[in-house]
Amino acid sequence: MSASRKSDPKANPSTAERVGGSVKKVEAKHDEPDFRTLFHAWLESHRASLVDSLGRLLKQPIGSFFTCLVMAVALSLPMGLALLLDNVERLGGSWQRAAQISVFLRLDVDAAAGQRLREEIAALPDVAEAQWISREAALEEFQQLSGIGEALRELPDNPLPGSVLVTPREIDKDKLEALRQTLAGMPGVEQAQLDLLWVERLTAILKLGDRFVFGLTLLLVATLLLVIGNTIRLHIENRRTEIEVVKLVGGTDGYVRRPFLYMGAIYGLGAGLIAWALLAYGLGWLNEAVVRLAGLYGSDFGLAGVPSGDAVSLVVGAVLLGYIGAWLAVARHLSELAPR
């Protein structure tokens, strides 16, 4: 069955004027928009989405704050642990110091030859620093540290050799051993000594710490994505009718998605700033006790605060995580939002 019919042209000028339109206007409405119009539309849509998202979050300040707080705790745990590890490394001295190689020279090597050897060692590519310790300096240090200084003064000759304290560039068991052998083979060298066991233990402990922080970070990032995803899902549910209407009047998926992405990013920003504040306050609070303890050992050690670079990374990372979490949530639910 097929049929066709054209209605009578009933254009009534007075009616057209009353409603403020014209047939010509209707005919012209499908003109292709130019780039400027499209760009303005895109910009305006982003501005409106940002303002709308911010407004919705501010309408529920307590709920929004607690969401940010949960995210902030998830962010500050691994970040706080990483900062503490950094401080522990600083306390224990640098890695390089822990892995120094002591190169003991033969007793017949004089100070001038020792200095030349130091320069030779310092020029090696794997060496970061080489320090000459003369026989006299070694004896003086030993007298101070051993507690048998008076007895040592009775000895007819200085029994200690001159030495070069070598700081390697890289902490790697194989490379350190190779460097030790190179140093041991140099002329005038009696023995090159490296406490590899200590290095290995320290490496293992710090690697364990790093791995723990990495695992915790992964776990908490996943938690954070779930928190933001669930929060955005609730927002989507609350705005289901609006989304259906928007889709029916020509809103693209991008248009529907946009306010939720801004919402995720704003949650992330809030969480990042709160996490920063928590860490700064937490480290400051802990530092009082650390300074008191270190003082008892005659040290002026204190915890460093949150470095500004790390703080910026924390906030930017939080914004990105919020954005990604929101994107995943909307992507998952967008297909369910088809108009019914």
Binding site: M1, A3, A11
Partner: protein, 223 residues
Amino acid sequence: MIRFDQVGKRYPNGHVGLHELSFHVQRGEFLFVTGHSGAGKSTLLRLLLAMERPTSGKLLLAGQDLSRITNAQIPFLRRQIGVVFQNHQLLFDRTVFDNVALPLQILGLNKREIGQRVMTALERVSLKDKALQYPADLSTGQQQRVGIARAVVHRPALLLADEPTGNLDPRLAAEIMGVFEDINRLGTTVLIASHDLALIARMRHRMLTLQRGRLIGDGEAGR
């Protein structure tokens, strides 16, 4: 404007919504689609809105084949269409102005133009003085007129209405139909799905009659 060519719609559960439907509608026409509940009126509208796709035949809207339309093209198709629902589908947390402005915001028009066009559309449905009120403060008839203003504010080529007078008393229903006729006089094609035969008969426009997904009548209402 619209061409149905042997269009069929069969749902995955085996139910047949439309049987090889064929008709075409000229630009600027005003027509009703009528039939009992389950006749296929809503299916027809859903196909035109690309909410569903035909399972057979060819459906053209303004030259675009809706059987082959991509998901990315659907929003741009819908920007050429205005839709009025029986239940208005208004957003109750937004003012009348903001409800009507929605299609223009999606198009990204500037605030000044949105303001002008919204007020023109509200004047068209005699609700200019209600712009700052919320839909909950309006009567059912006024809410329906807000829905109509939203459907025409972006000057669509085609206006679809699904039982737009279903919840209204006869006087209000006639008033709403008058608004649709005004819009049609400006060149917009109007297609209304309704089972209010008495009202349709009074208006003397083209009427398609559906029964169990088949077209059983095509002629002027009241004859």
